[in-house]
C-alpha cells in the first residue's frame, strides 16, 4: 500500500474511535438526509425534476467548450473581467495580484469549496491580505485553524460546546455571548458585520454560471454571499469551469433540486444572480441614474485545475456534480468516518471520485475502496450521477496501474483462472473447504489467517459445507432416479 493509503487507514481508525464525532455525524447527516427525503417526497414529480436537472448538466458538459467561451464573452460584454486559471497556482497568483494592485488589506469570503481546493486563503495572507470567512461554519473553521468536514455543513464535526469554547478563547466572548446558539450566532453577526463594512474585496465561489447572459448564481442561507458581493468595491468569483448551464431555464431546473438535496429546503433563502458589476447608468430609456450600490469591479476566475483532463477520462460524468452534499449524507461510510478522514477538500462518494480525478490515482485511489458500493449515493444524487460506477472506474484504473494491495493483485487472477475452469473449480473448492473445516468449531471459524483476519477481528466466518450444493443436488437427483 502507498503511504497515502496507509495514512487514509490511520485517519479512518482515528475517526471511528472518536465517539463525539460519531454522535455529531449521526445527528447531522441523519437530519440532512431526512430533510432531503421529505423535500423530494413533497414534489409531485420528483424523478422528472432530477431528470430535468441531469439533462441541463449533461447538455452543458457535452458542449462545455462553446458554453464556456460564450459565458466569458457575455460576462465581459457586461463589464466583468474574466481570468483563466489552468492550475491552482494560477488562480492564487491571479487573485493575489488583483488584491495587491488595489492595495487591498481585508477580504471577506463567502463559503467556497473551489477556494479551499486552490488554498487561496493562505496565499492571500502571505500577500498581506487578511481574509475573513463569513459563513458561520467557515468562520468557526477559520478560528479553529481547522478544515471543513462537509461540503455544505462545514462544522458537522463540532458540538456547540466546542464552538463556545473556541469563541471564548479566540474572541474573548463572555459567558452571555456563548450562552446558547442564538447568542453565538448574534456575536458572529456583530463581529462579521464590522468586517463586511471595512473589506475592500469580496471573494466567493459560484454555484452555477449562466452562459447566455454571463451571469453568476450564488446561493446562501445566511446572506453572507450577498453582503460579500455587494459591500466591498471589488468582487472576485472563482468558478470551477464545469459549473455552467446554457440559460435561465437550465438554471431553474438545477435550482429546483439543489437546495432540496443539500438541506431539504425548497430553495435557499438567497438565490443571488450577478450579471456584471454595478451599472452606473440605467438601461436604455432608464435615464442617467445608476445603481446605488454593488461592486465596481467584478472579476471572474475560471478554474481548470485538472477538470478538463477529467473530461477525457471514464470519470467525466462527475463533472455534472453541483456539490449539494446529498451523497455524503446518504453514505453509510461517510456517516461513520466524516469528512476529514478522506483527507481531501471533497469528501464522501463524490470526493472519492473527484480527488483521484483532479489530483491523481497514486495518492487518492484508495478513497474509492472506502465504499461497499451500496448505491445509496446514486439514489439521492440530484443529477443522477452513477457514483458506484465511477468508484468502480477509479478502482479499475488503480488496479491496472498495480495500485491494489499485493495479495489482491495475486489472488484475483488466480481466482479467475480457477473459476473459468469448472472442473478445477470443483476440485479446488473441495480442497479449500476441507482445509478451512480444520479451523471450524460448531460450523464457525473464529480466526482466519492473513489479510482475511480483518473479517474475524469482529465477526465469525461460516465454515464451508462438507458437501457443496451442486454435489449434493446431483447426489439427490441420482438417488431419486
Amino acid at each position: 500500500m502507498t503511504e497515502a493509503a496507509l495514512a487514509f487507514h490511520r485517519r479512518i481508525d482515528a475517526a471511528l474511535a472518536d465517539a463525539g464525532l460519531r454522535r455529531a455525524l449521526a445527528l447531522t447527516a441523519g437530519r440532512l438526509a431526512g430533510g432531503r427525503a421529505a423535500a423530494f417526497d413533497a414534489l409531485t414529480d420528483a424523478d422528472a425534476c432530477r431528470d430535468d436537472a441531469r439533462r441541463a448538466r449533461a447538455g452543458a458538459i457535452a458542449r462545455l467548450d462553446s458554453l464556456l467561451d460564450q459565458f466569458a464573452r457575455e460576462a465581459s460584454a457586461r463589464g466583468c473581467t474574466v481570468h483563466w486559471a489552468e492550475t491552482a497556482a494560477d488562480a492564487r497568483r491571479i487573485i493575489t495580484g488583483i488584491a495587491r494592485e488595489r492595495n487591498i488589506r481585508l477580504a471577506v469570503k463567502s463559503k467556497s469549496m473551489a477556494t479551499e481546493e486552490v488554498e487561496l486563503n493562505e496565499a492571500l495572507e502571505q500577500a498581506g491580505v487578511r481574509v475573513v470567512e463569513t459563513d458561520l461554519g467557515e468562520f468557526v473553521v477559520q478560528l479553529a485553524a481547522d478544515r471543513p468536514s462537509h461540503i455544505i455543513a462545514p462544522i458537522v464535526h463540532l458540538s456547540r460546546q466546542d464552538v463556545a469554547t473556541l469563541f471564548q478563547e479566540k474572541l474573548g466572548a463572555t459567558a452571555a455571548d456563548v450562552a446558547d446558539i442564538p447568542s453565538m450566532t448574534a456575536l458572529a453577526r456583530r463581529l462579521l458585520r464590522a468586517e463586511f463594512l471595512q473589506a475592500g474585496m469580496g471573494i466567493s465561489g459560484v454555484n452555477l454560471a449562466v452562459a447566455d447572459t454571463g451571469s453568476l448564481c450564488i446561493v446562501t442561507n445566511e446572506g453572507n454571499g450577498r453582503l460579500t458581493s455587494t459591500l466591498p468595491r471589488v468582487h472576485v468569483a472563482l468558478l470551477g469551469l464545469e459549473r455552467i448551464v446554457p440559460g435561465a431555464a437550465d438554471l431553474a431546473a438545477v435550482l429546483t433540486v439543489l437546495a432540496r438535496s443539500a438541506t431539504g429546503q425548497a430553495s435557499s433563502v438567497y438565490t443571488n444572480v450577478m450579471t456584471g458589476p454595478r451599472r452606473h447608468h440605467g438601461g436604455p430609456g432608464a435615464g442617467p441614474a445608476g445603481e446605488p450600490d454593488g461592486p465596481e469591479e467584478l472579476h471572474i476566475v475560471i478554474l481548470d485545475n485538472g477538470r478538463s483532463r477529467v473530461l477525457g477520462t471514464p470519470l467525466a460524468e462527475i463533472l455534472y456534480c453541483v456539490r449539494c452534499g446529498a451523497c455524503l449524507n446518504a453514505c453509510p461510510v461517510y456517516r461513520l468516518i466524516g469528512g476529514h478522514a478522506y483527507g481531501g477538500v471533497y469528501p464522501g462518494p463524490v470526493g472519492s471520485v473527484v480527488m483521484p480525478g483532479l489530483h491523481g490515482l497514486e495518492d487518492w485511489s484508495e478513497l474509492a475502496h472506502a465504499s461497499s458500493l451500496c448505491g445509496a449515493c446514486r439514489d439521492v444524487c440530484p443529477v443522477k450521477i452513477d457514483l458506484p460506477h465511477l468508484l468502480l472506474e477509479v478502482r479499475r484504473e488503480a488496479a491496472s496501474r498495480q495500485l491494489a494491495p499485493l495479495w489482491i493483485r495475486a489472488a484475483m487472477p488466480a481466482y479467475s483462472a480457477v473459476a473459468t475452469r469448472p472442473r478445477l473449480y470443483r476440485w479446488a473448492g473441495r480442497a479449500a473447504a476441507r482445509l478451512a473445516r480444520l479451523l471450524q468449531q460448531d460450523g464457525w471459524i473464529r480466526r482466519l489467517p492473513g489479510p482475511l483476519g480483518a473479517w474475524t477481528a469482529s465477526r465469525d466466518f461460516p465454515a464451508p459445507a462438507a458437501r457443496s450444493f451442486v454435489e449434493e443436488h446431483q447426489a439427490r437427483k441420482a438417488a431419486a432416479r
Binding site: 453509510p332 445509496a376 468502480l392
Partner: protein, 248 residues
C-alpha cells in the same frame, strides 16, 4: 403475454454452493412446489463479482464468459438466489462485454432472462404463499444490489408477509447497507465492522427471531456478527423461510 415458464436454470452462486447449500436446496424445493422444473448446470462457478468490484475487469470478464457459457445451453430463465449476483448478470455483464462481438449479444440475452429468486416468484410466477400458522418473528434486511440495482422493494416483503403475517418485525434502517461489500469487508475491516454493528443493533432491537435477506453474502456477514455476539437471532435466506416457514 409470455407463457408461464415450466423450467428454469438455477445459478446458485459460489457462496451458496460452498457455504450455504441449504439455501440452494430450499430454492429448488420452493420452485418445484410451484410447478417449475429446476435444472442445476453442474459446471457453474462464480459470476465474477469479486473481481469486478475490485477493479479487475479482465478477470471479471473471463468469469462472465464462463458463466454465460454455462447458462446458455438452454434458453430457460435463470433464477439466482442472490440479488447481488443477479444484478451483476443483469446490469453489469452487458457493459463489461460490450466490446466483445461474440459474448456481448449473449450477455444481453442472458441479462434479459435472469431473475433474482423472489423477483421470479412474484413477478413471473405470481405466487402467493400460504400463511404459516406458527413460526418465528421475521425481520427483513434489504440487500443493496437487489434493492437498488434490480428494484427489489416489494417482492421479498410481500412473500414474507404472506407467510408470517403479524409475525413481521419492523427493522429500522432496513435499507441501509450491512457493510459486507465483498472485499470491502476485509479491505476496510474497521468501517465494515462499524456498519455491521449498527445493523446488528437494529436487528436485536427489532425483536425478531430471524433476520431474512435475499442474499447469503449479507447473511454471512450478519450471521457471523450475530454469532460472534452470541445473539439468539438467526440469519436465514428467504428461500429457506419459504421452504419451511415454521422453522426457527
Amino acid at each position: 403475454m409470455t407463457p408461464r415458464p415450466t423450467r428454469v436454470q438455477l445459478f446458485v452462486t459460489c457462496l451458496v454452493d460452498r457455504f450455504f447449500p441449504a439455501a440452494g436446496h430450499a430454492a429448488v424445493e420452493v420452485l418445484e412446489r410451484y410447478g417449475v422444473e429446476v435444472h442445476v448446470p453442474s459446471d457453474q462457478t462464480c459470476c465474477g463479482q469479486p473481481a469486478f468490484n475490485g477493479g479487475f475487469a479482465a478477470d471479471a470478464a473471463a468469469m462472465a464468459r464462463t458463466t454465460i457459457d454455462v447458462l446458455s445451453h438452454s434458453v430457460d430463465p435463470v433464477v439466482v438466489p442472490s440479488g447481488s449476483c443477479a444484478d451483476m448478470i443483469v446490469n453489469h455483464y452487458p457493459g463489461l462485454l460490450a466490446g466483445d462481438a461474440a459474448y456481448g449479444p449473449k450477455a444481453k440475452a442472458l441479462a434479459a432472462r435472469t431473475y433474482e429468486f423472489s423477483q421470479f416468484l412474484v413477478d413471473v410466477l405470481g405466487v402467493d404463499p400460504a400463511a404459516a400458522p406458527s413460526g418465528p418473528t421475521l425481520a427483513y434486511h434489504a440487500s443493496c444490489h437487489g434493492l437498488r440495482g434490480l428494484g427489489l422493494r416489494e417482492q421479498p416483503r410481500r412473500l414474507l408477509h404472506a407467510v408470517a403475517g403479524e409475525r413481521s418485525a419492523d427493522l429500522p434502517d432496513a435499507e441501509t447497507c450491512c457493510g459486507f461489500g465483498g472485499l470491502f469487508a476485509v479491505k476496510m475491516g474497521p468501517i465494515s465492522s462499524a456498519m455491521l454493528d449498527s445493523k446488528l443493533d437494529a436487528i436485536e432491537r427489532s425483536g425478531a427471531d430471524v433476520v431474512v435477506a435475499t442474499d447469503v453474502s449479507c447473511l454471512m456477514h450478519i450471521g457471523g456478527g450475530l454469532h460472534r455476539r452470541g445473539s439468539r437471532v438467526r440469519a436465514r435466506h428467504i428461500a429457506e423461510v419459504l421452504a419451511d416457514p415454521g422453522h426457527d
